[in-house]
Symmetry: C2
């Protein structure tokens, strides 16, 4: 492993606090997530802060080296040196790696706004975001230079992800080092207004052009507190970065980090077994990959899996629990996971312990209650027309479908330079998520579907999610997605796309029709007639977004042609 040279070591006993803005009352400190990492560097300077092991040039930094002085502070000063002013946007295009981890803190320390760009976007989308965000500088990983448009008018800093001298990004950090050594943290100043922007992340834009979600320093601080508390992440925890950090600032998980450039299940298992991992996040599809990897085996100590993106099925919960992974189901609103991460959490009730796995998993699949520092998560009737802004909660009957609306400190501030979209999202003085859900008698929210995911079959509303939950419990099914397909008699009927488990592929080889019949028969006693799949296709893979969510829009295009 790389050892920093003496010159790059932080000074002894640095002051680990930025300068206070003038004029603030003694009892008021503007909330800022930088405060957490400075505390870590102060209290646990020698603890590993960032480990990036699975690359040609592995690096590992203690909190003192990473946060305490050298890298993050150097980056802040280098940005200022490059002309970045408070409020300017700094674009970052990178997989999980020191560059993007540094930027989460260094950009805030320069009072600038971090604009994170999804590495799976097309060049045209990247060009749109760079233009719309008005980013003043671009920090990019060498693998993604190909995404950049030609003739850029702003400076570009490339990281070879080596951490070694000669790497242009390391050279850029060196520009800041003189200032770090002369002025240290007190040469930088806390942002006085805690409601200033922290991050700018663009929606993936499946419908229309991407929108820039703005989050604040206050919101990031409170979301990070909630994540640490709810996931029980403490000083002895090790968080494995499977979730891409560019996805909503890694949902504000700001602790000890092992960074993986890509989702590689054998690497993940290597770290589960050898790196004292205690926590990770991932969508169900990633979790399915983990439990079905050949290296999977019962763990000697528990790991907590924070699951979001879709509800975990009973079979997934069972598979995770069998090997000692404890699922925590959180929900960040389909559009707004891109904000701060989780907004609700499924809170296990003591009484569930007595239930069968099937029954318990139905409770666990609910999205649950508002997160520790979140405010309302309500389900209201959808507006009758454009002028209808009254919010009326649906009854708590677990049946009546409404829209999830929310407000509070961990809701986005606005869409960047898009007052029209902002006004639409905040119609009625609340954030309208577009997610459809019911409210159970115990106050738990349960998503039914996004409006377009409802299958209207013979006049009945069939939830594609509910159908998927049932089909996923079949022993040969690895993953399943269900969409509406036009039907002459019933209007619409469910069409299921299924990936078989590895050991079941041979079993059904050349007999997909037989499997289709078996799955339909399996569904019959478990679902109402209108919700049973009319068609079943066995497929080798499903189209997915960069964050592992299934692209139902693509599946709908397929069935539209049938």
């Amino acid at each position: 492993m790389f050892q920093p040279t003496p010159a790059s070591l932080p000074p002894k006993n640095p002051t680990l606090a930025l300068r206070q803005p003038k004029g603030l009352p003694v009892h008021f400190q503007p909330l800022n997530p930088l405060q957490f990492i400075l505390r870590a560097a102060e209290i646990y300077p020698d603890k590993l802060g960032l480990v990036h092991p699975d690359v040609k040039d592995p690096v590992s930094y203690s909190f003192a080296v990473w946060y305490g002085c050298q890298r993050i502070q150097n980056l802040a000063y280098a940005l200022i040196q490059a002309g970045i002013k408070p409020g300017d946007r700094v674009a970052v295009i990178a997989p999980n790696s020191p560059l993007i981890a540094d930027a989460h803190h260094g950009v805030l320390a320069a009072k600038a706004v971090l604009c994170l760009i999804n590495t799976r976007l097309k060049p045209s989308e990247v060009a749109f975001i760079l233009e719309h965000s008005g980013s003043s500088i671009i920090l990019v990983d060498h693998e993604y230079v190909r995404l950049l448009p030609p003739n850029l008018k702003v400076p570009v800093v490339v990281s070879k992800d080596s951490g070694r001298p000669g790497d242009p990004y390391e050279q850029f950090l060196t520009n800041g080092r003189t200032y770090s050594q002369e002025r240290g943290w007190p040469g930088l100043e806390y942002q006085a207004d805690e409601n200033s922007p922290a991050l700018l992340c663009y929606t993936s834009g499946t419908t229309g052009r991407p929108k820039g979600v703005v989050t604040t320093l206050r919101g990031s601080y409170l979301a990070a507190v909630a994540n640490a508390y709810e996931s029980r992440i403490h000083q002895e925890s090790t968080y494995l970065w499977i979730l891409p950090m560019f996805h909503a600032g890694g949902w504000t998980f700001p602790w000890t980090n092992i960074t993986l450039r890509t989702v590689d299940y054998s690497l993940i298992w290597k770290h589960f077994l050898n790196s004292a991992v205690t926590h990770y996040c991932g969508a169900p599809t990633v979790q399915i990959g983990i439990v079905n990897d050949p290296a999977a085996k019962p763990l000697s100590r528990p790991i907590s899996a924070i699951i979001a993106g879709a509800a975990p099925t009973a079979s997934l919960i069972s598979s995770l629990e069998q090997i000692g992974i404890q699922p925590i189901h959180v929900y960040g609103l389909t559009q707004t996971l891109i904000q701060y991460g989780p907004f609700t959490r499924n809170y296990t009730q003591p009484s569930w312990a007595a239930l069968s796995l099937q029954d318990r998993s139905k409770f666990m699949a609910r999205q649950g209650h508002a997160f520790a520092t979140a405010q309302d998560a309500r389900v209201v009737f959808q507006p009758k027309d454009e002028n209808d802004t009254e919010l009326v909660d649906v009854p708590r009957d677990g049946k009546t479908v409404g829209e999830i609306v929310t407000r509070g400190n961990i809701v986005m501030k606005e869409y960047f330079r898009d007052p029209e979209a902002t006004a639409k999202a905040f119609r009625g003085g609340i954030f309208n998520t577009g997610d459809l859900a019911v409210m159970h008698p115990d106050g738990a929210v349960a998503i039914v579907d996004r409006s377009k995911d409802i299958i209207i079959s013979g006049g009945e509303n069939a939830s594609s999610l509910a159908i998927e939950q049932e089909l996923a419990s079949h022993p040969d099914v690895l993953e399943v997605s269900v969409v509406a397909r036009t039907h002459v008699k019933w209007g619409e009927r469910p069409h299921a796309f299924v990936i078989l488990k590895t050991h079941s592929i041979n079993k059904w080889k050349g007999r997909h029709d037989a499997f289709s019949n078996e799955l339909k028969a399996y569904a019959k006693p478990r679902l109402p007639g209108f919700a049973c799949p009319e068609w079943v296709d066995v497929v080798p893979e499903l189209p997915k977004t960069s964050t592992g969510k299934i692209l139902k829009t693509d599946l709908r295009k397929i069935v539209a042609k049938l």
Copy 2:
């Protein structure tokens, strides 16, 4: 146990949120500790919220009954009904009991300010506080009616601590019930300004008249978050109220509660062994009582003890750990523990595990680093004169003595109606605690003494705390306190007051002089000559404040007469 009547049960599925103030942005929710209890009632309605077992009329309330609707909401409406307006002060004089627990939430729900009065004060002090705070109503436990001045001009509500019909306090709650049932939580409104006062607690006034410490809703919220996170208090935790709640709002511990009216060690052990207690707080003197109680024995599951008020000695740490109690040493600044509770915490380092108990306890006795949501805890040179407001940090050498200064969200807002004292406390734009300390190379703060606790012996500064730490390690010593006594030759010399352990009382009966010599001989190799006690008195008890801190002022009066 008392069961609520059907009429007193909360309605099914109440809305557990107060009305939003008009005009707030969607992304902004004013922080308010009420949010935690409403979440608890929403997510765990049937969980025990408050248990008050050791009285003639025991009661126990679920979160739904306690928080969800009935008691807290009734109290808020009853106060409004009695003419209480936003910002008015509501005085409470009570031991740990449902009255004071209700008031922590119900008073805030009425947008009023909770003025907590120490039950161990003299009637003249209580009269001063009632007058100075301008309290508009007094809620008082029957045992403390005797503290009230005659001819009060404000209404008084007495609780018999019975929870039964006919109890005047229960009757008062009934006044609010009609409104609770008609309007529920949405009939009340959140305070729009999170910097509004929440609590008003008076200093004990050992020097001059008591001062009213004002804390805010924002500060209470952030201090409660930090307490829950740092102490790892979660939904399955049970907190035993040994610490008086009137002491700084119970340091904002807002979770499942078992309330004890008095510190009774046999009751404490009953709950340790039978009530699934997981957490409690107490000063070292209380901890000493706990480990030395005849009922003390190794626990089958660990309990976390949050220790404040003074540093735990090596022998105390060892005694606690031997029976399975995990000490967490926190520090709330001598004057300002009355604010929100802990401001710093001792963070155990992995490397300490290899140390001997004696060496480890020296590290554990340090006050440590700033708390999760606290900001700076610095040690600066004391001002040369009144015009010297420059803050210069002492070197991190573990030797140079300076004053602890702090700022941030969990520092008090002001002294109530006392701009002069406020200005003095905030001199230099920071809160001056008056506590003397050194800063260790690792950034940990360690209190030396309050200025007046330093013993100037032959021109050398001897820390009475350091002397006490050493003497407490003698096997016959239960508790010890050291003060300065005038000495012809050396100016001052240490005088130690010692309580013997139960099993050592007979051993030294009639031979206190011999014990005195033995303790002096014990000290000699362990302390510098100027710090060795010149006099040792064996005493049956030590004078203490209501919160268990030793009253050195009283000991000084004793030695002044010798």
